[in-house]
């Protein structure tokens, strides 16, 4: 039971990476993400403070140490992790009705796993494949019209919502082929330690890529908790809409701007 709980937490690592980047612009809902209720704000703020403490003592130093590794090693590691994430992205492309994208992502995964040696080299990118965009079960639930539910801050894992946390559970309920093979696959190549190592490494890689941007955000925020919450919710809304930032430009909260008195 304990093992399962640990895996559940770790399996959510990918969903924590939400504010690493972004994949789209939201037009799904005209609702502002301010409508996502912070039902457990007191508790959330407490866990947020705990996470900041853990980050200061453990995650940030580890991420800094990771950055000492040569750039090609970090790039290769990052490529392997991104390639593995395709195994969650592809079924979600299908579940969202994005069959063409699922095909492209499958092609990318096959090429990078074989020619790219287990994903170390992003050969597909050099061949002209379109930019890869991660998908997860939380996003699929959103695409299906499920509301986000209350905002949550999870211990260690950080910002989430009830919907996104439920989505993360799907990974360990058969939704992540890598989990299935490494935990239940009964094979000589992969076991649970590989799965755990992968998820931990995903977290470290994400943190290492964002050391400066987090520091900058924290230093210039007057309410860091509110800033992180806003970033997370805006990013999730956009990802659920499956629109690229470059496609811009329809902003979901246009109404907010209509009556602003400018200079």
């Amino acid at each position: 039971m304990k093992r399962i709980l640990i895996l559940i937490f770790l399996s959510s690592f990918l969903s924590v990476s939400v504010y690493a980047g972004s994949d789209g612009q939201n037009e799904l809902s005209k609702k502002s993400d301010a409508s996502v209720k912070d039902c457990f704000e007191g508790l959330n703020r407490g866990i947020f403070a705990l996470n900041q403490g853990l980050d200061k003592v453990i995650f940030k130093p580890v991420a800094k140490a990771y950055r000492v590794l040569p750039a090609p090693v970090r790039t290769g590691t990052s490529n392997v992790l991104v390639n593995l994430s395709s195994l969650i992205t592809i079924p979600n492309n299908v579940l969202q009705g994005e069959f063409k994208t699922a095909g492209v992502n499958t092609g990318r995964f096959v090429i990078n796993t074989t020619v790219g040696i287990l994903g170390i080299f992003n050969v597909a990118k050099k061949m002209g494949f379109s930019e890869y965009e991660k998908e997860d079960y939380g996003q699929t639930f959103g695409v299906w019209g499920m509301g986000s539910g209350c905002y949550l801050v999870l211990p260690v894992l950080g910002p989430s919502t009830i919907r996104d946390t439920a989505g993360s559970f799907m990974n360990v309920l058969g939704g992540d082929p890598y989990y299935n093979v490494s935990i239940h696959g009964n094979n000589e190549y992969l076991d649970k330690s590989d799965y755990i190592a992968t998820k931990v490494l995903t977290g470290i890689d994400f943190r290492a890529k964002n050391i400066e941007s987090f520091e900058n955000l924290e230093k210039n925020s007057i309410d860091f908790y509110a800033s992180v919450k806003s970033l997370y919710l805006q990013d999730r809304q956009r990802k659920i809409a499956n629109r690229k930032p470059s496609a811009t430009i329809e902003i979901l909260y246009e109404g907010d701007w209509e009556e602003i008195e400018s200079q």
Binding site: N216, D223, D235, R238, P245
Partner: protein
């Protein structure tokens, strides 16, 4: 005959004069490109952080709609506070905004921004899309700029959207969170803004 020609000439000259101001109107696309170029110059690696911040504040004063952002950041509270509180707010907000804006950007060195396209949303706003080009360490970042075009001769930036995340919106939610955590007391926000300006 001559008088008629002179009159015609004067008429043409005056018509041309009427259109001259329009010829100075700058497109939001060019405005953002010029502003980005100016910011890149201010973020020259030879300058100290303090020098960068001073230059960025000067750029922000002439290219950013500080009052508009201030209004937006107040959210629903802008309708409920008194005129006196508004005056107090805008005075402290400008100082807060310039410091926060300059401090956020001063961390960057020699950024390269390419402006890609523009799209008019309505008479008041145009969105300009750009890309902060990748470096050996960092991937490229998409940056959109909401430009107020109410006065086409003097476009102003009112929001910057990084990878789809609106910074004005993040700021508004920070402000609202502070006010709500203090039982709707706007003075708590003023106090926090003042502390930021004075201490950080």
């Amino acid at each position: 005959m001559l008088t008629k020609k002179i009159l015609k000439f004067l008429l043409l000259v005056s018509i041309n004069f009427c259109f001259i101001p329009n010829s100075f109107a700058i497109t939001p696309y060019l405005f953002v490109q010029e502003t980005a170029d100016e910011a890149t110059e201010a973020l020259n690696k030879r300058l100290s952080k303090e020098e960068k911040m001073e230059k960025l504040k000067i750029i922000a004063k002439k290219t950013v709609d500080v009052k508009g952002i201030g209004n937006y950041s107040l959210g629903a509270y802008r309708k409920t506070i008194s005129d006196q509180q508004k005056d107090e707010y805008f005075e402290i907000f400008e100082q807060y905004f310039l410091k926060s804006f300059a401090s956020r950007l001063a961390e960057y060195t020699d950024p390269k921004i390419r402006v890609d396209s523009q799209k008019k949303l309505n008479d008041k706003y145009t969105m300009v899309s750009s890309t902060l080009l990748a470096t050996s360490e960092k991937a490229e970042i998409k940056i959109d700029w909401r430009v107020v075009t109410k006065n086409p001769d003097n476009p102003l930036i009112i929001d910057v959207i990084i990878e789809g995340v609106s910074l004005a919106k993040v700021q508004r939610e920070e402000f609202n969170s502070i006010i709500q955590s203090n039982d709707g007391n706007i003075n708590a926000l003023f106090k926090t803004l003042r502390e930021f300006v004075e201490n950080k």
